[in-house]
Assembly symmetry: C2
Homo-oligomer: 346 residues x 2
């Protein structure tokens, strides 16, 4: 495998090289069929968009999960429609990506017919960001909201022991002729991957990210990983995190973060459970006036930019443009760790 | 009008007395028909549940809006169904409450049929909290999410001029045999009513709530009211606030907070625009297994309580129980201001 350039502790790779590396690693560790495409696509997209915690670093996470035997590497998802505006994708214990890719066209179709529709992705192993599926729905001209629990890593506001997941919420809005408005953030003070990257780098974490195993505030990354992460935004962030547990857990017949953690039983696999994706068709409420009203949203975005406020997702799309031209830079140590997976798999 | 007891600068009233006072004030200032019932019910509910900023204080706000002539005091809402899972309630420039009350049964019916459904309340004057309608949906055994823009009072993260509304998000989850899990919070650092109550009391506001007209941080309530409020939770809270602008503004063909402010043109009326309410039927995804999965949510709530974390909405329901037994205490100065409205209306 060619690795294009090495300098200053980084390795520069084209997106094609990242894709081939990801496929080779995943295949060698037993992932098969269309799952390889779907998972590699997500990892390339994360690296391409400048997300250190959701790019090739996730190959280590995915391989670790494959090694635990907690993920089915081959099963095909089953798509059903339990109600006119509901879609269900049973991933059967596989990684989430393929089930999502197969079910999204059904969700989009249902949203166009009914005005609004919801997709439950069930029984999936989840290690990825949510914005890839949000962007896929938005590319069809629809508004999208996605969320998923994770493992019980985060203490609720007022508590001190892990109970909630990092429970991301992602939202996307179509912008005719421009990059979509998309945000995707954890309801924890930081993403777990960010804390893991601090640990790898030997750096302290900011105050407010975590508690140690005794429930005391800590800036030690390992201590926070062993203790409890904190929610973002105090009791409001905690309330949103609980909402995520409920609507992407029991509401869709799937696990809470605490149940996912119990299922893992110390194996160290990625979270197991469900994801909820809601799609709304602007033409549903607006009919032929949709374009006129979407233009008013552009006025809002313009007013934000005029006072120097950053649009969520703008940095990701700027990174994307650079990555497609110049490739991506991966820390050499991380690159070595990934290449080492090629010697140990199969 | 009998006012039960006065002591220590407060007036104690039964909920029945609050209701009669509210109806009398609203009627005297021109509100008519079923609007009086619907608006009074919301104000009584706020006072009953211990919300100082959404109780009888809002009578001053409602009367102020009636006096501006910016609200239609009598028009009947029109309910339509633009798509199988969408409901539209055109309030026609009236207060939101009656349109919501009339449309909610249609929303609930659509959610039961389709699994998920959305209600757009359009062209309404909005001064109330969102949890009353969320509780109404939840009382039918459904999950509910509600949101609305307001006036452009809040600066986006990274900006310094008002553009966004206080943009509350409310969510409710049914709990068999118990008070529902319901939260309702502003995506601004504080509700505007809270800042107004600080101003009335001559108290400084906490740091982080507002900027003065020059874009500088301030703890002066009036300066923040004249300048810009801040979003809660930094760029994540700001992102959620923008989402609210989009999904309860252009997506439903209604005004953004900046457009509402422009429409007001300095009159000082409450915000004018739309509200989006989404309802999901747990039986849609779960069928007869719904009860079993709702029981897993109770396990989550139990685990929160076990580590001392407060459940959102619990304080409101505790206040409600006390208010129904003992009545409510209203600051004497506020009570006098409300009684004064009876001398100036009609």
């Amino acid at each position: 495998m060619r690795t294009a350039r090495m300098e200053n502790g980084t390795v520069t790779m084209t997106l094609g090289e990242v894709d081939r590396l990801a496929r080779r690693v995943l295949t060698q560790h037993g992932l098969s069929g269309d799952h390889v495409d779907a998972v590699a696509r997500t990892i390339v997209a994360g690296e391409r968009d400048g997300s250190a915690s959701h790019g090739v670093y996730r190959l280590l996470v995915a391989v670790n999960t494959l090694r635990t035997g907690k993920v089915d590497p081959a099963i095909e998802p089953i798509i059903t429609r339990p109600a006119p505006a509901l879609v269900k994708a049973d991933a059967g214990g596989a990684f989430a990506q393929l089930a999502i890719e197969r079910a999204l066209p059904v969700l989009v179709d249902s949203a166009r017919t009914n005005g609004i529709a919801a997709l439950a992705v069930n029984r999936c192993i989840h290690f990825a960001a949510l914005w890839p599926e949000v962007e896929m729905v938005v590319a069809e001209g629809l508004v999208a909201l996605a969320t998923t629990p994770s493992h019980a890593w985060v203490a609720p506001a007022g508590g001190h022991r892990p109970l909630l997941g990092t429970n991301p919420i992602a939202f996307g809005w179509p912008r005719p002729g421009g990059s979509p408005f998309v945000f995707d953030f954890a309801t924890s003070a930081a993403a777990r991957g960010e804390i893991e990257l601090h640990r790898r780098a030997g750096k302290p974490i900011p105050a407010g990210w975590g508690l140690d195993a005794d429930g005391q505030p800590t800036t030690d990354a390992q201590a926070a990983l062993d203790g409890a992460m904190l929610t973002w935004g105090g009791h409001k962030g905690s309330a949103l995190s609980i909402m995520v547990e409920l609507i992407a857990g029991p509401l869709i017949g799937d696990l809470t973060s605490a149940e996912s953690m119990a299922w893992d039983a110390g194996a160290g696999a990625s979270p197991y459970g469900g994801e909820l994706i809601v799609a709304i068709d602007p033409a549903g409420f607006l009919g032929p006036a949709a374009a006129e009203h979407l233009a008013r949203a552009e006025t809002l975005f313009g007013a934000m930019a005029a006072q120097g406020a950053r649009l969520p997702g703008a940095r990701r799309h700027a990174n994307r443009a650079v990555s497609m031209e110049e490739g991506v830079r991966i820390p050499s140590a991380l690159h070595r760790d990934i290449l080492a997976l090629l010697d140990t798999g199969g």
